[in-house]
């Protein structure tokens, strides 16, 4: 008994030790807060940052489906605007079949792109026209070249961009339409706030200063084949939809597989519940 008591005594002492240490940290933190008079210093990045707008996406919700027309329009925007600086390295030309292009179109498109290759005669590094099995080539030969051409801000690969950001599809569309002048209220409230010399004000970007210059500047920058009016917002949402597809080509298949699985499980679980009930009926008042 005395031994057990000593185990508890040691525990109580250790417990009080941790408690005093963490409360000591609490007191020093609290006194700092009191002396500064606020919980957290106000910052322009915190107060003027905006959450992405909610757009209506065809692929949203449990029954979401791709809008193939929209994906093709978005692909055109990527091809004519974004691909100048951004790679799409996890997407192969052959994948375009999933968004409604036929083999001939894909072959022709792939052949219009130059991909790194090896000269079969000399073995020297060269480039050759792409094949459907090739992946989208990067606009820069390497990261150093990408940094050098863009004020040291390497344009990120876009394959996964909508999964690599919170609320990614809405984020991309909001960011592309979000460029504006630095608001007067911000200047009034934070006179010290300064964008970096290469920054462009965009409230959807975490630190408000985006290195990328506005890529979609005029309506009609891309000509759509299906007659849709290419407003800036239309182009932004279309390319965001396309990039949602590149980030997860299996998104719609995933949702469509989910329903039969859930319906089967629901059915099986109801059966399991009924058999549980029946089996347990025998256990009520068994000792009578």
């Amino acid at each position: 008994m005395s031994k057990l008591l000593s185990v508890r005594l040691v525990a109580i002492l250790i417990g009080l030790g941790f408690t005093v240490a963490v409360l000591w940290a609490f007191v020093s933190g609290a006194s700092a807060v009191i002396s500064e008079g606020e919980l957290k210093p106000a910052s322009a990045e915190h107060e003027f940052h905006e959450h992405p707008n909610d757009y209506a996406w065809s692929f949203d919700g449990p029954f979401g489906k791709w809008d193939v027309q929209q994906l093709q329009r978005g692909f055109k925007v990527y091809n004519e605007v974004c691909s100048a600086c951004h790679s799409l390295k996890y997407v192969a030309f052959r994948d375009l079949e999933q968004i409604g292009y036929d083999e001939g179109q894909i072959k022709a498109y792939a052949a219009s792109k130059q991909v790194p290759g090896i000269d079969p005669l000399t073995g020297e590094a060269t480039s050759r026209p792409g094949l459907p099995t090739d992946y989208f080539p990067s606009p820069y030969p390497n990261a150093v070249a990408a940094a050098a051409a863009n004020n040291n801000a390497i344009p990120p690969d876009l394959s996964l961009i909508t999964k690599a950001r919170h609320n990614g599809s809405n984020y991309v569309a909001s960011l592309l339409t979000g460029y504006r002048e630095v608001p007067a209220e911000l200047k009034a409230e934070f006179p010290d706030f300064a964008l970096s010399p290469t920054g462009h004000y965009n409230p959807y970007f975490a630190n408000l200063g985006l290195a990328m210059a506005p890529p979609l500047t005029t309506a009609g920058q891309v000509t759509y084949d299906d007659g849709t009016d290419p407003t800036i917002e239309q182009m932004a949402t279309d390319v965001a939809a396309f990039l949602t597809w590149t980030a997860e080509p299996t998104l719609v298949k995933r949702k469509q597989t989910g329903w039969p699985v859930l319906i089967f499980l629901l059915f099986a679980t109801v059966l399991a519940y009924l058999s549980k009930k029946q089996i347990w009926a025998a256990a009520k008042r068994k000792d009578d």
Binding site: V7, I12, A21, W24, S159, A283, D287
Partner: protein, 431 residues
């Protein structure tokens, strides 16, 4: 051992008879999870989570082995092979989402299993060994999950590995050499990724081994139950099969519905977007956060923001984080109340529901939040309560509390009366 009234395995089929004579595997299964294992008749659905944890362990091993067939543990290509699994491997996306969310579900059911143990003091004699092995399983799970999260080699993988191995750097004198030894270098790179993959493949089988010990130890005293009153007679128990196989079957169905709803409709909900950015040692994410199941302990780590006499704040945080789990090993000897179940312990029950559970909720929330006020101050108060609860309140409460009257037996608790007990038929409790 088992209760004297446990049914004996009597094979009738000649094949089973042959097998039983040469290698009594069917007998083992029959006595472990079949009709040969008598279980208290009053187990609530809170007793489902052991079986569910076993299920998710197996599911993780199956999906994990398939993923390992397509993954390459090399820092140059690890991220790309993960994307290859998502895009090109047949049903690879399903395997990976099931594995990532399976880890989360494994932790959900294990946390419920552990907190069931806290409330009903399942750790008390004669079940100390089951509890100790359970804590070992939990520690192994944490190590396995941490290393698994590093494998896709995304930003959170890399920086998580750096932060967690950095904890060992807080140890005085030998800290830095230990950190370098663990990583096989000065920062996480190929050497670290390779050994994490190797260990991530090995540890689940170690867990499976300890799970077998956990179940073996369970079968010595038999399962606990919501009243905490030990089994006294045959009428207190029901055979595991078909009663609890049926009950666990229903519980498994519910768990799978929730699991697959997440896998098919919100597979990235519990993950972090930054892990879809390839690891980049030159760019630190704005907030480095571990997976959600580590948040309470991460909050404890970060709660120690001031040096305590000669102990640096970082070392204090590391000590506290490890102690927060290691102290569970001592619970059987800290809580000396003779009553097990929280149902009959009025004081303990109040501290459990109004102390421990809110403190855990605060720690959970703050662990996932950025390290800024008011989250740091909140987690400091919750951390203080956490240690007080287990190391101070529990030993004292168990000493001074007046428990409420217990039912005579499980039978009485379930059926209102224990006729055999009244007749004096079972004066000697089963051993």
């Amino acid at each position: 051992m088992s209760f004297p009234w446990a049914k004996e395995y009597t094979p009738t089929n000649p094949v089973m008879k042959f097998l039983d004579e040469k290698l009594p595997m069917p007998r083992l299964v029959y006595n472990a999870i079949g009709a040969g294992y008598p279980v208290p008749r009053n187990l609530s659905y809170f007793w489902n989570f052991g079986v569910l944890a076993g299920f998710f362990l197996v599911a993780q091993i199956v999906t994990g082995v398939v993923l390992a067939m397509h993954y390459a543990a090399n820092a140059q290509v690890a991220f790309a092979t993960t994307e290859h699994i998502m895009r090109d491997v047949n049903w690879g996306w399903l395997m990976r989402y099931a594995h990532a969310n399976g880890a989360s579900f494994f932790f959900i059911v294990v946390y419920l299993h552990i907190f069931r143990g806290f409330y009903y003091s399942s750790y008390k004699a004669p079940r100390e060994m089951i509890w100790l092995l359970g804590v070992v399983i939990f520690l192994l799970m944490m190590a396995t999950a941490f290393m698994g999260y590093v494998l896709p080699w995304g930003q959170m993988s890399f920086w998580g590995a750096k932060v967690i191995t950095g904890l060992f750097g807080a140890i005085p004198v030998v800290g830095e050499p230990i950190q370098i030894w663990l990583l096989g270098g000065f920062a996480p790179d190929n050497a670290a990724l390779n050994r994490f993959f190797s260990l991530h493949f090995l540890l689940p089988f170690v867990i499976a081994g300890v799970v077998i010990l956990h179940i073996w130890a369970l079968h010595i005293p038999g399962s606990s139950n919501p009243t905490g009153v030990e089994v006294k007679s045959e009428s207190d128990t029901l055979p595991f099969h078909p009663y609890y196989t049926a009950k666990d079957g229903f519980g498994l169905g519910v768990a799978l519905i929730l699991f697959f709803a997440l896998v098919f409709f919100l597979p990235n909900y519990l993950g972090h977007p930054d892990n879809y950015i390839e690891a980049n040692p030159l760019s630190t994410p704005a907030h480095i956060v571990p997976e959600w199941y580590f948040w309470p302990f991460y909050a404890i780590l970060r709660a120690f923001t001031a040096d305590f006499f000669f102990i640096p704040a970082k070392l204090m945080g590391v000590l506290a984080m490890f102690s927060a789990i290691l102290l569970w090993f001592f619970l059987p000897w800290l809580d000396k109340s003779p009553v097990r179940s929280g149902h009959y312990r009025p004081m303990f029950r109040k501290f459990f529901w109004f102390g421990l559970i809110p403190a855990m909720a605060v720690l959970f929330y703050c662990g996932g939040a950025p390290a800024e006020e008011p989250f740091v101050m909140l987690s400091q108060i919750a951390t203080a309560y956490y240690f007080l609860h287990f190391l101070v309140i529990l030993p004292i409460v168990s000493q001074i509390e007046k428990p409420e009257p217990l039912p005579y037996s499980i039978t009485e608790a379930v059926l209102g009366s224990d006729k055999k007990a009244v007749l004096g038929e079972n004066a000697t409790p089963a051993v």
